[in-house]
């Protein structure tokens, strides 16, 4: 890929900003490039990165999913409390949670694909519904984690120790799951006909249908995939935290959507890459976790998140506007 083409990519700019930010934190605090800080960052990147893969697919198809934290919380809470101690292997917990997530995703997918309602409003409604079921009917409260998942939470890939301070952090196996999930997402989007269909529907639904893509089926797949992944991620989160906290994922949807868009995934569909979504998520996680190292009080963190969303999406929106304008000029000059 030539340099000129590279500079036209959003991913390129996000990567540069990411590196610049890392260097800034390093210069200000001297604590950035320490093994425990890097491991901590990778650890907090795990869950948002997995969510971003599912969300990105929905966004590329021209929709949006605001319900995945609710789906993740409900399926996680159900399997960890209702199936507590039933199995000695973590796998059944993951499978049941994924099945529950799949069913809830299918509800979203069916309503969005059949009635063509705006996905945001449908998934907001569904989100409220599932959270209500969890808090109202299952009566969500903190709960000790079942032993099979607890043991999984203790498994680690490596440990990063800071030689100066003596602090150390563990990188849980879940980071490996996240990497696998990212690769699966990349494979589906880039190497399969289904992936082509997702891009085609997001670009122009009517054209995609004429070209022979199954619009209804593709939409159903996307929401089912996102739902099943949410179930999986919910259980991951609980085992990483080593406790069942049903409410601490609620509200993550907005940060994940913003991270995807920062990474160049178009909110109107048809455009985006797995690399971009991962870079966008990394940038959001980095900023949220490094404010303390920069000496900024934590009460400011929400303001910074807001500013990043506004500036990041503003820049790409203005670029898009200019690109459209130059396109018009080019056409009229011919």
């Amino acid at each position: 890929m030539s340099i000129k083409r590279l500079t036209k990519k959003t991913e390129f700019y996000v990567a540069i900003i990411l590196i610049a930010f890392c260097l800034l934190v390093q210069v200000r605090s001297g604590q950035f490039f320490t093994p425990n800080n890097i491991v901590d960052l990778l650890r907090s990147l795990t869950i948002p990165m997995m969510f971003a893969v599912g969300e990105m697919m929905v966004l590329i198809s021209g929709g949006v999913d605001c319900s995945f934290p609710a789906i993740a919380s409900l399926s996680m809470y159900f399997v960890t409390t209702k199936m507590d101690g039933m199995f000695s292997s973590p796998i059944p917990y993951f499978l049941v949670a994924m099945l529950l997530g799949l069913c809830m995703g299918a509800v979203n997918g069916f309503i969005v694909a059949k009635y063509r309602f705006p996905a945001m409003i449908v998934t907001l409604g569904a989100s409220s519904l599932w959270i209500g079921v969890m808090q109202g009917i299952l009566g969500s409260s903190e709960y000790p984690l079942t032993s099979a998942l607890y043991r999984l939470g203790e498994a680690k890939i490596l440990t990063g120790t800071n030689a100066q301070t003596g602090f150390s952090s563990n990188l849980p196996v879940h980071f490996g799951f996240a990497v696998v999930l990212v690769l699966i997402g990349w494979f589906i989007l880039n190497k399969t006909m289904l992936g082509r269909g997702i891009y085609a529907i997001g670009g122009d639904e009517v054209a995609a249908a004429r070209a022979g893509f199954n619009v209804f089926g593709t939409r159903m797949f996307i929401f089912c995939f996102s739902g099943a992944m949410a179930g999986f991620i919910g259980v991951c989160r609980a085992s990483m935290m080593m406790t069942v906290n049903p409410n601490n994922m609620i509200g993550m949807e907005m940060d994940v959507i913003a991270a995807c868009v920062l990474g160049g995934v178009s909110l109107v569909g048809g455009k985006g890459s797995v690399l971009g979504a991962v870079l966008g998520t990394a940038l959001m996680t980095l900023v949220a976790n490094s404010l303390i190292l920069l000496g900024i009080p934590t009460v400011w963190s929400r303001v910074f998140t807001g500013l990043i969303i506004i500036i990041g999406t503003g820049v790409s929106a203005v670029q898009e506007k200019q690109r459209k304008n130059t396109l018009h000029v080019a056409v009229s000059e011919e």
Partner: protein, 336 residues
């Protein structure tokens, strides 16, 4: 839509085609069902007073968010803008008020003006980000949601602002018989925005923009002005809601009423605002506010139902109403 000459052969239930008639029918139905379920407990003065006290704050937010939906957008920031307005107004009071709880009527009124200015400014910022920079409404207001919420946290240091002149509480909790003063604030604001949306050129332009904003651009309308004005009105309505919440609790906090966003979207869609933009009325939204309040009050009377179950009702109702509207509209199309 329906011409006069075929009205003679209308089927019996065809008045349901009209979304306002549909709303009135639903309103009467819910009222009757609530009365039958709870009888004297529902149909009594105390309950009505309680209901009139509860809905103005989220009703105002619903009208503001409904207006954003009419122009084909959304406003996720309204609740936090409401809180930010009352926080800034509260800090203004803290700064200038010297007494120990007495007096200060003039200052309190002045602080309301401060809140309204903050609301209008926040709304204008939303509009500029959406129309000026071209950020999709959902992301722009998601960003400002975080921003307004964050500013509220920074200004209060994450805690609750209190210690205001007593007149703040007495002024906003005053009632005339069955009717609290906040109900009048709601009705006046609803009347004014209703006239703007349903009777003025701006209202027509809003709906045209919501249907097709490229067409309005080519038709020579000022798209920027339409979006900014609409969000500015939404911001002012949010500030009014903020003032009411501030008066109700005599304190201001960055995250009061965080479940109202979802509820306000539900109310707007229930009230006949098209989730795709382009149509909707304030009359419908006001009726939907009343319907939601009646359901909420009756659910409250069943003490064995946990409050969190209301979220099931709101979410489920939103989906069911959208699907029902879809089929009713389809029927109407087929008949033509």
């Amino acid at each position: 839509m329906m011409s006069k000459d075929n009205s003679a052969k209308k089927p019996a239930l065809s008045f349901l085609d009209n979304s306002s008639a549909r709303m009135i029918a639903l309103f009467v139905l819910v009222f009757v069902v609530c009365s039958l379920l709870k009888g004297g407990k529902f149909l009594n003065a105390d309950n009505f007073l309680a209901m009139f006290r509860q809905f103005p704050e989220y009703g105002l937010l619903a009208i503001g968010i409904g207006m954003a939906l009419i122009i084909g957008g959304i406003d996720l920031s309204a609740v936090y803008l409401a809180n930010l307005s009352s926080i800034v107004a509260g800090l203004f009071l803290h700064h200038f008020y010297q007494g120990t709880g007495d007096g200060g009527t003039g200052l309190v009124l002045l602080s309301f003006v401060v809140a309204l200015i903050v609301g209008a400014a926040g709304g204008i910022l939303n509009g500029v980000l959406i129309s000026g920079l071209g950020i999709p409404a959902m992301l722009a207001t998601l960003g400002t949601q975080s921003l307004y919420w964050g500013l509220g946290v920074v200004l209060t240091g994450g805690s609750t602002l209190s210690g205001f002149p007593k007149v703040l509480g007495t002024m906003l909790n005053k009632k005339f018989g069955l009717f609290p003063v906040t109900l009048f604030i709601f009705l006046i604001a609803a009347l004014i925005t209703g006239i703007i949306v349903q009777r003025t050129k701006h209202g027509r332009e809003m709906k045209m923009y919501g249907t097709n904003n490229r067409a309005t651009l080519y038709a020579g309308l000022n798209n920027f002005k339409i979006v900014v004005t609409t969000h500015m009105i939404g911001g002012i309505l949010a500030a009014l809601a903020g003032i009411i919440m501030w008066g109700r609790y005599s304190s201001a906090k960055a995250d009061t009423g965080s479940t109202y966003t979802m509820q306000a979207i539900l109310i707007a869609v229930l009230g006949g605002v098209s989730p795709n933009g382009g149509s909707g009325s304030v009359t419908g939204i006001v009726l939907a506010v009343l319907i939601i309040q009646m359901i909420s009050s009756v659910l409250n009377m069943y003490t064995f139902i946990p409050t969190a179950c209301r979220q099931i009702v709101w979410g489920g109702l939103l989906l069911v109403v959208m699907i029902l509207n879809f089929y009713l509209d389809q029927k109407k199309k087929n008949r033509h």
